[in-house]
Amino acid sequence: MTATNPKAVDTAATDPGPTGAPAVRTPPPPAAGSAFGWWLADSWTMTRRELSRWARHPGQVLVNLAFPVMMLLMFALFIGGSMTVAGGGDYAEFLVPGMFVVTMAFGLEGTMTAISRDLERGVVDRFRSMPMAPSALLVGRGVADMLDSAAGLLVMVGAGLLIGWQWNGSFPAALAAVGLLLLLRFAMLWCGIWLGLVVGRPELVTAVQILVWPVAFTSSAFASTEAMPGWLRVIAEWNPLSATATAVRELFGNPGAAGTSWPTENAVLLAVLWPLLLLSVACPAAAARFRRLNR
């Protein structure tokens, strides 16, 4: 640097460093009005972080996509023969929408694991010590997980079609069904972020991984609630997973949507309300927890 050079103060100017390479100095703050643009850019960068992770580990992605397909095939081929659907109908047509719901619900684990891993490894700390929008960390995670789940749903639709599932309703109704499934996933996303921030250690995720099974089984995802004992049946009918499962069956025109109980008759309404209720709890709780990391 020569003496005539104005000293770079508080700018992003690139002075030639001692080695001749451009030294990068203090980045400028976002200009007024562009803060939103920076937030978008940060969020997209964080999303790309996840996407490039998939690109490097396609095998892992395939395993994650194959797991629900395997579950679907096991239920349809091994158990399906002895299952009857209340109100009549083909078990495969009943099962496939239920498996869609389970696939969305189990996305909770993935979100939770990723968040707690970043927290434990100090990645969250590093991002928080940088001049980026802290919420971009959560947004990037959210966008990537939703893309992941949408891809998972697409694969499951394909697998469902292969074992004889089809939708009998209208196209708009089918779109509405997909919308309800993704809404459930969105609620699970925020529950996952919240729980991940609370536990902070990936090992504890195992406990949740075990607990999701009884929750999934205490619903109409795999079997009609009609055959369950009275008290269990009430719980199962009110389970948010049942609401989405029954609503999706109704919209796809699949068997198993009929029923006389209130939650069954109002399944579509509940399939909207339940995720919204979960979101109204998990979203503020996750945000508060994230802000409290500096306590």
Binding site: V9, D10, G17, P18, A21, A23, V24, R25, T26, P27, P29, W38, A41, D42, T45, R48, R49, S52, R53, R56, H57, E120, R121, G122, V123, D125, R126, F127, R128, S129, M130, P131, M132, L293, N294, R295
Partner: protein
Amino acid sequence: MNGNGPAIRAQGLRRTYGSTRALDGLDMTVARGSVHAVLGPNGSGKTTLVRTLATLLRVREGRAEVAGFDVTDRPRDVRRRIGLLGQHAAVDEELSGRQNLELFGRLYHLGGRRAAARADELLERFGIADTGRRAVGTYSGGMRRRLDLAASLIVEPEVLFLDEPTTGLDPRGRTEVWESVRSLVGGGTTVLLTTQYLEEADQLADRISVLDHGRVIAEGTSDQLKAELGGDRIDVVVRDAGQLAGVAELLAGITGDAAGVETDTDTRRISAPVADRMSALNRLVRSLHDHGVEAEDVSVRRPTLDEVFMHLTGDMKEEVPQ
């Protein structure tokens, strides 16, 4: 830079976790462009201090300024000027070293092309260019740490925090990281590093703050801290352990400070602080000769930082007072 004040100024920082005082009225000033070591055992408050200065923990009591900005009022201004190397390598193991650095470059809004160029430049500078495209999971501990260090230097920070940068590394990895840290000095970056290794503070730092139970119990250059223990020390190793007591008495007579004489029976070594090293050495050698004591070794040396640390923290259990 903002003003010409110190790079770091902490005043009366206090923070408790339950009944544990992590920071107990900590004061510290770090001059710009210097390397400052915070030395202390586990639980002395080192990490809490770094996390507070790096805006990760809210200041509960006291004040802290980094790069001229108050960490409570202007955290974003602070974040634009610091780099943080935490205790864990905060890089993505599934991604390559280059991808990690590009990611951080984008978060500093360098733009895709400059982020890529900066990533290559840093990989080169830290000697990990040839492994830049491999997943970080396959890196050695030292390489991972250097990548981590590179990530905190995407934009040359005014203040760089290194929280126990070599903990868990083998000697080779430690040397690698030391060399990398030394290469930063001279670029104008202020470095605050925490360590439990006295040797590390001695090797890297201009000044050392010794931390114990959340307070600074001593501060100064390595030489000043050593001088606090009474400057030079004289060591005598005798052949026959039976002569230890006699030699200790001789040494006390020469230094005039019986309390300062330390005897280690296992190594048959007697050690004492001396004011005038050459005169003490002369008198001791003559005295040993006069009394017919056979010494295996007589030497004058500076105290080690271990001795300084034990002295300061009052942890003298290992030594047998005479």
